[in-house]
Amino acid sequence: MAIDLSTRAPRTVPSGYRAGHLARGPRSWSARELLVLSWLAPLLFALAWEAVCRFGGMNEQVMPAPSAVLATAWTLVKDGSLFVHLGYSLLRAATGFLIGGGIGFGLGLIVGFSRLAEALLDRSIQMIRAIPFLALLPLVIVWFGVDEAGKIFLVSLGVLFPIYINTVLGIRQVDPKLLEVAKVTGLSLRGRITKIILPGAMPSILTGVRYALAVAWLALVIAETIATTKGIGFLAMDAREFLQTNVIVLTIVIYAAIGVIADGIARALERRLLAWHPNYAREERR
């Protein structure tokens, strides 16, 4: 991994632990060694899984070996179909996230800034939010059929609320004392929004983004089980028809990997946009 480990070194070994180890004598672990060790358990697990499948008589219809899953992945990569399905899924998630996130952020800004807009809109939004959005699935099929629109709608709806709520909350939590500073420094309305209110609301908004990313995935998994011919969800459904357990496991692994990547993106955003914030100031492993 191409990560500069040296910057992390002083933080990964809490002094308390190190003292304990030193007291017993042997040695203190370097950051690089600890990083390698942290991958040891997952690796051992995969090896054990492989061993059970090969020598333990595990039925491969129930649980295929990691090597079989990898071989399946390779086949799908070679004929290009994996990228087609992955592309469709990512496109749906991204479109839904942009639409739902955009609307949620926009509504959040309006309601956050205006008590009048809050009176007019907030109650209705909260009422719609009370519906578990996946319960709308049958209605969505009736409205949009089984096309892309219905899937994107479902993702948008799931993403909208966490972004909306956290935007409103973030704006409302901005310190009124800082707004007085804006007044006595003659800051323009635009400056007030871009220099005080949005940065002040950013930690809360990014919490919403992180949560919304998780919801977007969940919505996608469900949406893609409705009659489709493209997408990771379709791969899984199709594989179930033909009892291709290795493909099913592969799709689960892909969903998990994308979830990890999405979370990584959210964290990178936090580190970049909240560099001023003591909690995000240095690289932290949570």
Partner: protein
């Protein structure tokens, strides 16, 4: 001398309660005025009215549209580097060089790209001073700006603010609880009581024979009687 601000017959109520009633005040350009008074006497209300932060119910304020203000807390934006904090609201291309110069003036040269969280309390308040002075205000309002600092830092800040005011020559209104602070840095000390100015002392004239007598008088005005004086 020209006035930095003139206040006539100022009145301010909160509901039924009258906080300021018929207050007159004139602060000259370059004059350093300290305002003493017990809590709730209306001195912070007066400052906020002069700053344009609170409305008034009657009377006149003739002064600059936007005086500069330093609050008790530094009120720096934690997400903006120091120079952006200082330049807040200045939208000319010279904003950054001016901010850097102002930071140098308060003893924070080279710190323009640092974050507020890396500063001590005294340093943060220096940045707040730079933010106020970079606008070259005609009127500078100080709302107990040193109250939260430790005693040694406060003494250093007194020297700094005196120096800065002598150089930039704004009219200054300092609201404080601290009699010694007022004597140390002000040209004129006002005592506010029940919404009016109850007494005015010229510091240079009163302290010719040492500051103890003025100190005693001011404490007396504020309702503090020292034991050795009472005896």
């Amino acid at each position: 001398m020209s006035a930095a601000v003139t206040v006539r017959a100022l009145r301010r109520r909160y509901g039924e309660r009258v906080v300021i009633e018929g207050l007159d005040l004139r602060i000259e350009t370059g004059e350093f005025v300290a305002m003493l008074g017990e809590s709730g006497c209306g001195k912070t209300t007066l400052l906020r009215a002069l700053a344009g932060l609170d409305p008034v119910d009657g009377g006149r304020i003739d002064g600059p549209a936007q005086p500069a203000v330093v609050f008790q807390e530094h009120r720096l934006l934690p997400w903006a580097p120091l120079w952006q904090n200082v330049a807040l609201g200045i939208e000319t291309p010279e904003a950054k060089p001016q901010a850097v110069a102002a930071l140098r003036e308060v003893g924070l040269a080279g710190r323009e790209n640092d974050w507020p969280r890396n500063l001590s309390g005294g340093q943060s308040q220096r940045v707040a001073l730079a933010r106020a002075l970079v606008r070259e205000p005609r009127l500078l309002l100080l709302d107990e700006p040193f109250a939260a600092l430790d005693a040694l830092t406060r003494i250093k800040m007194h020297a700094l603010i005196k120096d800065l005011v002598a150089r930039h020559r704004p009219g200054v209104l300092l609201v404080t609880h601290d009699v010694d602070e007022a004597i140390a840095i002000a040209d004129r000390i006002l005592v506010m009581r029940a919404g009016r100015i109850a007494a005015s002392y010229d510091v240079a004239a009163e302290t010719e024979a040492g500051s103890d007598r003025l100190r005693g008088k001011l404490l007396g005005e504020l309702g503090v009687t020292l034991h050795d004086r009472a005896a």
